[in-house]
Amino acid sequence: MNIISMILRPVAGNLTDRISKYRLTFFGGSICFIGTLGYVFAPNSQLLLLFRFINGIGFVFCTVCMATWIAFLVPRDHVGEAMGYYGLLNASSMALAPALAINLYQVIGYRPMLGVSAAAVLLMVILIQFVGNPAQPKYRPQENKGRHHFKIIQKDTLAVASIMSLLSIPYFATQADIVMYVAQRHLNVAVGMYFFIYAVVLFAIRIALKNFFDTVRFGVWFAICAVASVVYIVFLAIMNSDWQMAVAAGCMALGYGIMFSICQSTSLMLAPMAEQGLANSTFYLGLDIGMSLGPIIGGLIDNYLPLTWFYPVMLVILPIVLVIYLFNRQKLNGAVEHH
Protein backbone atom coordinates (compact mmCIF):
# COMPACT_ATOMS: atom_id res chain seq x y z
CA MET A 1 0.00 0.00 0.00
CA ASN A 2 2.94 2.34 0.70
CA ILE A 3 4.36 1.64 -2.77
CA ILE A 4 1.02 2.49 -4.41
CA SER A 5 0.85 5.64 -2.28
CA MET A 6 4.28 6.87 -3.39
CA ILE A 7 3.52 6.23 -7.08
CA LEU A 8 0.06 7.75 -7.07
CA ARG A 9 0.59 10.78 -4.79
CA PRO A 10 1.68 13.12 -7.62
CA VAL A 11 -1.25 11.93 -9.79
CA ALA A 12 -3.67 12.61 -6.94
CA GLY A 13 -2.09 16.02 -6.33
CA ASN A 14 -2.35 17.12 -9.95
CA LEU A 15 -5.93 15.85 -10.26
CA THR A 16 -6.92 17.61 -7.02
CA ASP A 17 -5.88 20.90 -8.62
CA ARG A 18 -7.94 20.19 -11.78
CA ILE A 19 -11.10 18.37 -10.62
CA SER A 20 -13.57 19.33 -7.89
CA LYS A 21 -12.61 17.97 -4.47
CA TYR A 22 -16.08 16.45 -4.11
CA ARG A 23 -15.73 14.41 -7.30
CA LEU A 24 -12.28 13.14 -6.44
CA THR A 25 -13.23 12.28 -2.84
CA PHE A 26 -16.35 10.52 -4.12
CA PHE A 27 -14.19 8.53 -6.56
CA GLY A 28 -11.57 7.72 -3.90
CA GLY A 29 -14.21 6.85 -1.28
CA SER A 30 -16.09 4.58 -3.69
CA ILE A 31 -12.86 2.78 -4.60
CA CYS A 32 -12.07 2.40 -0.89
CA PHE A 33 -15.55 0.97 -0.29
CA ILE A 34 -15.11 -1.57 -3.11
CA GLY A 35 -11.70 -2.55 -1.72
CA THR A 36 -12.91 -2.84 1.88
CA LEU A 37 -16.06 -4.73 0.90
CA GLY A 38 -13.81 -7.03 -1.11
CA TYR A 39 -11.96 -7.98 2.08
CA VAL A 40 -15.24 -9.15 3.59
CA PHE A 41 -15.97 -11.57 0.73
CA ALA A 42 -12.44 -12.44 -0.49
CA PRO A 43 -12.29 -16.24 -0.83
CA ASN A 44 -8.50 -16.46 -1.10
CA SER A 45 -5.33 -14.50 -0.30
CA GLN A 46 -4.70 -13.53 -3.96
CA LEU A 47 -8.02 -11.70 -4.17
CA LEU A 48 -7.36 -10.16 -0.76
CA LEU A 49 -4.13 -8.75 -2.17
CA LEU A 50 -5.99 -7.41 -5.22
CA PHE A 51 -8.54 -5.67 -2.97
CA ARG A 52 -5.64 -4.25 -0.93
CA PHE A 53 -4.31 -2.63 -4.12
CA ILE A 54 -7.77 -1.25 -4.92
CA ASN A 55 -8.10 0.10 -1.37
CA GLY A 56 -4.63 1.67 -1.68
CA ILE A 57 -5.67 3.62 -4.79
CA GLY A 58 -8.72 5.03 -3.03
CA PHE A 59 -6.67 5.80 0.09
CA VAL A 60 -4.22 8.00 -1.85
CA PHE A 61 -6.95 10.03 -3.53
CA CYS A 62 -8.93 10.52 -0.33
CA THR A 63 -6.00 11.58 1.89
CA VAL A 64 -4.70 14.19 -0.56
CA CYS A 65 -8.10 15.45 -1.61
CA MET A 66 -9.89 15.68 1.75
CA ALA A 67 -7.12 17.71 3.40
CA THR A 68 -7.13 20.07 0.40
CA TRP A 69 -10.93 20.27 0.52
CA ILE A 70 -10.87 21.36 4.19
CA ALA A 71 -8.15 23.94 3.43
CA PHE A 72 -10.32 25.23 0.58
CA LEU A 73 -13.45 25.57 2.75
CA VAL A 74 -11.87 27.61 5.56
CA PRO A 75 -10.60 31.18 5.44
CA ARG A 76 -6.92 31.34 4.44
CA ASP A 77 -5.93 32.77 7.85
CA HIS A 78 -7.45 29.70 9.57
CA VAL A 79 -5.73 27.03 7.48
CA GLY A 80 -3.31 26.22 10.32
CA GLU A 81 -6.12 25.82 12.85
CA ALA A 82 -8.11 23.67 10.40
CA MET A 83 -5.09 21.45 9.73
CA GLY A 84 -4.62 21.17 13.49
CA TYR A 85 -8.13 19.72 13.85
CA TYR A 86 -7.55 17.56 10.79
CA GLY A 87 -4.36 16.17 12.37
CA LEU A 88 -6.28 15.57 15.59
CA LEU A 89 -8.91 13.54 13.71
CA ASN A 90 -6.14 11.48 12.13
CA ALA A 91 -4.45 10.88 15.49
CA SER A 92 -7.78 9.97 17.14
CA SER A 93 -8.62 7.44 14.45
CA MET A 94 -5.05 6.06 14.58
CA ALA A 95 -5.41 5.53 18.33
CA LEU A 96 -9.01 4.29 18.49
CA ALA A 97 -9.58 2.23 15.34
CA PRO A 98 -6.77 -0.36 15.72
CA ALA A 99 -7.60 -0.87 19.42
CA LEU A 100 -11.31 -1.36 18.62
CA ALA A 101 -10.56 -3.62 15.65
CA ILE A 102 -8.17 -5.86 17.61
CA ASN A 103 -10.61 -6.24 20.50
CA LEU A 104 -13.73 -6.66 18.37
CA TYR A 105 -12.42 -9.16 15.82
CA GLN A 106 -11.62 -11.58 18.65
CA VAL A 107 -15.34 -11.59 19.47
CA ILE A 108 -17.04 -11.32 16.06
CA GLY A 109 -14.28 -12.55 13.68
CA TYR A 110 -12.29 -11.03 10.82
CA ARG A 111 -15.01 -10.68 8.19
CA PRO A 112 -17.69 -8.98 10.34
CA MET A 113 -15.05 -6.56 11.69
CA LEU A 114 -13.96 -5.75 8.13
CA GLY A 115 -17.68 -5.25 7.40
CA VAL A 116 -17.74 -2.57 10.13
CA SER A 117 -14.81 -0.92 8.35
CA ALA A 118 -16.65 -1.06 5.01
CA ALA A 119 -19.74 0.47 6.66
CA ALA A 120 -17.61 3.37 7.97
CA VAL A 121 -16.27 4.21 4.52
CA LEU A 122 -19.77 3.88 3.00
CA LEU A 123 -21.03 6.35 5.60
CA MET A 124 -18.20 8.68 4.58
CA VAL A 125 -19.31 8.51 0.93
CA ILE A 126 -22.89 9.26 2.00
CA LEU A 127 -21.82 12.17 4.25
CA ILE A 128 -19.99 14.04 1.49
CA GLN A 129 -23.21 14.13 -0.56
CA PHE A 130 -24.48 16.75 1.91
CA VAL A 131 -21.49 19.11 1.54
CA GLY A 132 -22.69 22.23 -0.26
CA ASN A 133 -19.37 23.49 -1.68
CA PRO A 134 -17.76 20.91 -4.02
CA ALA A 135 -14.56 23.03 -4.13
CA GLN A 136 -14.08 23.58 -7.83
CA PRO A 137 -10.39 24.08 -8.65
CA LYS A 138 -8.83 27.42 -9.56
CA TYR A 139 -7.24 25.79 -12.59
CA ARG A 140 -8.75 26.80 -15.94
CA PRO A 141 -7.42 24.74 -18.89
CA GLN A 142 -8.08 27.50 -21.48
CA GLU A 143 -6.13 30.05 -19.38
CA ASN A 144 -3.18 27.75 -18.79
CA LYS A 145 -2.84 26.15 -22.20
CA GLY A 146 0.69 24.95 -22.76
CA ARG A 147 2.12 25.95 -19.39
CA HIS A 148 0.35 23.86 -16.75
CA HIS A 149 2.09 20.52 -16.97
CA PHE A 150 1.98 17.43 -14.83
CA LYS A 151 4.25 17.98 -11.81
CA ILE A 152 5.68 15.38 -9.46
CA ILE A 153 6.20 17.74 -6.52
CA GLN A 154 5.38 21.29 -5.43
CA LYS A 155 8.88 22.79 -5.07
CA ASP A 156 7.95 25.41 -2.42
CA THR A 157 6.91 22.63 -0.05
CA LEU A 158 9.93 20.38 -0.57
CA ALA A 159 11.73 21.53 2.61
CA VAL A 160 8.61 20.96 4.74
CA ALA A 161 8.07 17.53 3.19
CA SER A 162 11.73 16.63 3.87
CA ILE A 163 11.43 17.70 7.52
CA MET A 164 8.21 15.71 7.87
CA SER A 165 9.79 12.70 6.23
CA LEU A 166 12.73 12.66 8.67
CA LEU A 167 10.61 13.32 11.77
CA SER A 168 8.31 10.46 10.72
CA ILE A 169 11.12 7.90 10.90
CA PRO A 170 11.26 7.55 14.73
CA TYR A 171 7.46 7.84 14.92
CA PHE A 172 6.76 4.99 12.51
CA ALA A 173 9.66 2.92 13.86
CA THR A 174 7.96 3.25 17.25
CA GLN A 175 4.56 2.38 15.81
CA ALA A 176 5.96 -0.74 14.16
CA ASP A 177 8.39 -1.93 16.83
CA ILE A 178 7.44 -0.63 20.28
CA VAL A 179 5.71 -3.87 21.31
CA MET A 180 8.76 -5.90 20.23
CA TYR A 181 11.10 -3.36 21.87
CA VAL A 182 9.29 -3.56 25.22
CA ALA A 183 9.07 -7.37 25.10
CA GLN A 184 12.72 -7.95 24.15
CA ARG A 185 14.01 -5.51 26.76
CA HIS A 186 11.64 -7.01 29.39
CA LEU A 187 10.37 -3.54 30.30
CA ASN A 188 7.65 -3.32 32.91
CA VAL A 189 5.37 -0.84 31.10
CA ALA A 190 1.75 -0.91 29.87
CA VAL A 191 2.76 -0.52 26.24
CA GLY A 192 -0.86 -0.89 25.03
CA MET A 193 -1.55 2.56 26.52
CA TYR A 194 1.24 4.31 24.61
CA PHE A 195 -0.72 5.57 21.59
CA PHE A 196 -3.82 6.17 23.68
CA ILE A 197 -1.79 8.58 25.89
CA TYR A 198 -0.36 10.10 22.69
CA ALA A 199 -3.88 10.80 21.35
CA VAL A 200 -5.17 12.23 24.66
CA VAL A 201 -2.17 14.59 25.04
CA LEU A 202 -2.45 15.65 21.40
CA PHE A 203 -6.14 16.41 21.93
CA ALA A 204 -5.36 18.54 25.03
CA ILE A 205 -2.54 20.43 23.29
CA ARG A 206 -4.69 21.02 20.20
CA ILE A 207 -7.54 22.50 22.25
CA ALA A 208 -5.14 24.68 24.25
CA LEU A 209 -3.37 26.10 21.19
CA LYS A 210 -6.54 27.56 19.58
CA ASN A 211 -5.45 29.56 16.50
CA PHE A 212 -1.72 29.83 17.35
CA PHE A 213 -0.99 27.64 14.31
CA ASP A 214 -1.94 30.61 12.11
CA THR A 215 -0.08 33.32 14.00
CA VAL A 216 3.15 31.81 15.37
CA ARG A 217 6.15 31.43 13.06
CA PHE A 218 7.38 28.02 11.93
CA GLY A 219 10.73 28.51 13.70
CA VAL A 220 9.10 28.77 17.14
CA TRP A 221 7.17 25.53 16.59
CA PHE A 222 10.26 23.91 15.17
CA ALA A 223 12.34 24.76 18.27
CA ILE A 224 9.64 23.48 20.67
CA CYS A 225 9.05 20.32 18.67
CA ALA A 226 12.78 19.59 18.25
CA VAL A 227 13.30 19.75 22.03
CA ALA A 228 10.19 17.59 22.59
CA SER A 229 11.50 15.09 20.02
CA VAL A 230 14.83 14.78 21.84
CA VAL A 231 12.97 14.26 25.14
CA TYR A 232 10.63 11.57 23.77
CA ILE A 233 13.45 9.66 22.07
CA VAL A 234 15.61 9.80 25.23
CA PHE A 235 12.69 8.68 27.42
CA LEU A 236 11.90 5.79 25.06
CA ALA A 237 15.55 4.79 25.33
CA ILE A 238 15.66 4.85 29.14
CA MET A 239 12.04 4.03 30.09
CA ASN A 240 11.44 1.38 32.67
CA SER A 241 8.19 2.54 34.24
CA ASP A 242 4.74 3.70 33.15
CA TRP A 243 5.34 7.34 34.01
CA GLN A 244 8.49 7.43 31.86
CA MET A 245 6.51 5.88 29.02
CA ALA A 246 3.77 8.48 29.54
CA VAL A 247 6.35 11.32 29.33
CA ALA A 248 7.63 9.80 26.08
CA ALA A 249 4.11 9.54 24.63
CA GLY A 250 3.24 13.10 25.70
CA CYS A 251 6.43 14.56 24.22
CA MET A 252 5.87 12.57 21.04
CA ALA A 253 2.44 14.23 20.76
CA LEU A 254 4.18 17.61 21.01
CA GLY A 255 7.25 16.74 18.95
CA TYR A 256 5.58 14.81 16.16
CA GLY A 257 1.78 15.22 16.42
CA ILE A 258 1.89 19.03 16.53
CA MET A 259 4.70 19.23 13.98
CA PHE A 260 2.56 17.13 11.60
CA SER A 261 -0.16 19.81 11.58
CA ILE A 262 2.37 22.67 11.44
CA CYS A 263 4.16 21.13 8.46
CA GLN A 264 0.89 20.39 6.63
CA SER A 265 -0.49 23.90 7.09
CA THR A 266 2.92 25.46 6.23
CA SER A 267 3.07 23.48 2.98
CA LEU A 268 -0.41 24.75 2.05
CA MET A 269 0.45 28.35 2.92
CA LEU A 270 3.71 28.28 0.94
CA ALA A 271 2.10 26.94 -2.23
CA PRO A 272 -0.03 29.04 -4.61
CA MET A 273 -3.80 28.44 -4.49
CA ALA A 274 -3.73 26.67 -7.86
CA GLU A 275 -1.29 24.08 -6.49
CA GLN A 276 -2.82 23.28 -3.09
CA GLY A 277 -3.48 19.67 -4.10
CA LEU A 278 0.07 19.24 -5.33
CA ALA A 279 1.36 20.80 -2.07
CA ASN A 280 -0.65 18.26 -0.08
CA SER A 281 0.54 15.38 -2.24
CA THR A 282 4.17 16.50 -1.78
CA PHE A 283 3.62 16.64 1.99
CA TYR A 284 2.12 13.13 1.97
CA LEU A 285 4.92 11.87 -0.27
CA GLY A 286 7.36 12.93 2.46
CA LEU A 287 5.18 11.15 4.99
CA ASP A 288 5.08 7.98 2.84
CA ILE A 289 8.88 7.93 2.67
CA GLY A 290 9.16 8.33 6.45
CA MET A 291 6.47 5.69 6.95
CA SER A 292 8.47 3.24 4.82
CA LEU A 293 11.92 4.12 6.17
CA GLY A 294 10.91 4.04 9.88
CA PRO A 295 10.24 0.29 10.13
CA ILE A 296 13.15 -0.49 7.75
CA ILE A 297 15.66 1.51 9.82
CA GLY A 298 14.16 0.08 13.01
CA GLY A 299 14.68 -3.43 11.61
CA LEU A 300 18.27 -2.67 10.60
CA ILE A 301 19.11 -1.29 14.05
CA ASP A 302 17.49 -4.33 15.65
CA ASN A 303 19.55 -6.67 13.43
CA TYR A 304 22.96 -5.04 13.61
CA LEU A 305 23.11 -3.19 16.95
CA PRO A 306 22.20 -3.95 20.56
CA LEU A 307 18.53 -3.10 21.23
CA THR A 308 19.57 -0.43 23.75
CA TRP A 309 20.80 1.57 20.69
CA PHE A 310 17.38 1.47 18.98
CA TYR A 311 16.36 5.00 20.04
CA PRO A 312 19.73 6.74 20.57
CA VAL A 313 20.55 6.05 16.89
CA MET A 314 17.30 7.84 15.92
CA LEU A 315 18.72 11.06 17.42
CA VAL A 316 20.99 11.34 14.35
CA ILE A 317 17.93 12.52 12.42
CA LEU A 318 17.56 15.74 14.39
CA PRO A 319 20.77 17.52 13.28
CA ILE A 320 19.82 16.74 9.65
CA VAL A 321 16.38 18.25 10.21
CA LEU A 322 18.02 21.29 11.81
CA VAL A 323 20.26 21.82 8.76
CA ILE A 324 17.23 21.66 6.40
CA TYR A 325 15.42 24.20 8.58
CA LEU A 326 18.41 26.58 8.72
CA PHE A 327 18.80 26.56 4.93
CA ASN A 328 15.08 27.34 4.46
CA ARG A 329 14.28 29.36 7.57
CA GLN A 330 13.34 32.60 5.83
CA LYS A 331 10.79 30.95 3.58
CA LEU A 332 9.40 28.73 6.36
CA ASN A 333 9.09 31.57 8.88
CA GLY A 334 7.35 33.73 6.30
CA ALA A 335 4.61 31.18 5.65
CA VAL A 336 2.27 32.61 8.32
CA GLU A 337 2.21 35.90 6.40
CA HIS A 338 0.92 34.18 3.23
CA HIS A 339 -2.76 34.41 4.23
Binding site: I3, R52, L73, P75, L89, A97, S117, V131, N133
Partner: protein, 53 residues
Protein backbone atom coordinates in the same frame (compact mmCIF):
# COMPACT_ATOMS: atom_id res chain seq x y z
CA UNK B 1 -21.11 32.06 -4.44
CA UNK B 2 -17.90 32.91 -2.64
CA UNK B 3 -15.30 30.13 -2.68
CA UNK B 4 -14.44 30.47 0.97
CA UNK B 5 -16.53 30.68 4.12
CA UNK B 6 -15.76 33.28 6.77
CA UNK B 7 -15.88 30.93 9.78
CA UNK B 8 -13.79 27.87 10.53
CA UNK B 9 -16.67 25.63 11.57
CA UNK B 10 -19.50 25.58 9.05
CA UNK B 11 -21.85 22.80 7.99
CA UNK B 12 -19.49 21.94 5.14
CA UNK B 13 -16.27 21.83 7.19
CA UNK B 14 -17.93 19.75 9.92
CA UNK B 15 -19.24 17.29 7.30
CA UNK B 16 -15.86 16.96 5.58
CA UNK B 17 -14.09 16.53 8.95
CA UNK B 18 -16.62 13.87 10.01
CA UNK B 19 -16.15 12.13 6.65
CA UNK B 20 -12.37 12.29 7.18
CA UNK B 21 -12.68 10.64 10.58
CA UNK B 22 -14.84 7.83 9.16
CA UNK B 23 -12.44 7.29 6.26
CA UNK B 24 -9.37 7.21 8.53
CA UNK B 25 -11.19 5.00 11.02
CA UNK B 26 -11.97 2.53 8.23
CA UNK B 27 -8.35 2.47 7.03
CA UNK B 28 -6.82 2.19 10.50
CA UNK B 29 -9.26 -0.55 11.57
CA UNK B 30 -8.24 -2.69 8.58
CA UNK B 31 -4.46 -2.34 9.11
CA UNK B 32 -4.05 -4.61 12.16
CA UNK B 33 -6.38 -7.29 10.71
CA UNK B 34 -5.29 -7.64 7.12
CA UNK B 35 -2.09 -9.61 7.66
CA UNK B 36 -3.84 -12.05 9.99
CA UNK B 37 -6.61 -12.55 7.46
CA UNK B 38 -4.07 -12.95 4.68
CA UNK B 39 -2.27 -15.69 6.58
CA UNK B 40 -5.58 -17.34 7.48
CA UNK B 41 -6.67 -17.42 3.83
CA UNK B 42 -3.34 -18.58 2.45
CA UNK B 43 -3.27 -22.37 2.83
CA UNK B 44 0.41 -22.31 1.99
CA UNK B 45 1.71 -18.93 3.15
CA UNK B 46 3.49 -17.69 0.03
CA UNK B 47 3.73 -13.97 0.72
CA UNK B 48 3.40 -13.31 4.43
CA UNK B 49 3.26 -9.62 5.18
CA UNK B 50 2.98 -8.52 1.56
CA UNK B 51 -0.70 -7.70 1.90
CA UNK B 52 -0.22 -4.94 4.44
CA UNK B 53 2.58 -3.39 2.41
Amino acid sequence: MADHQEKLFTKDTILVMAATFLFQFSTMAVNPLINGMHVTLAQAVLLPGSSLG
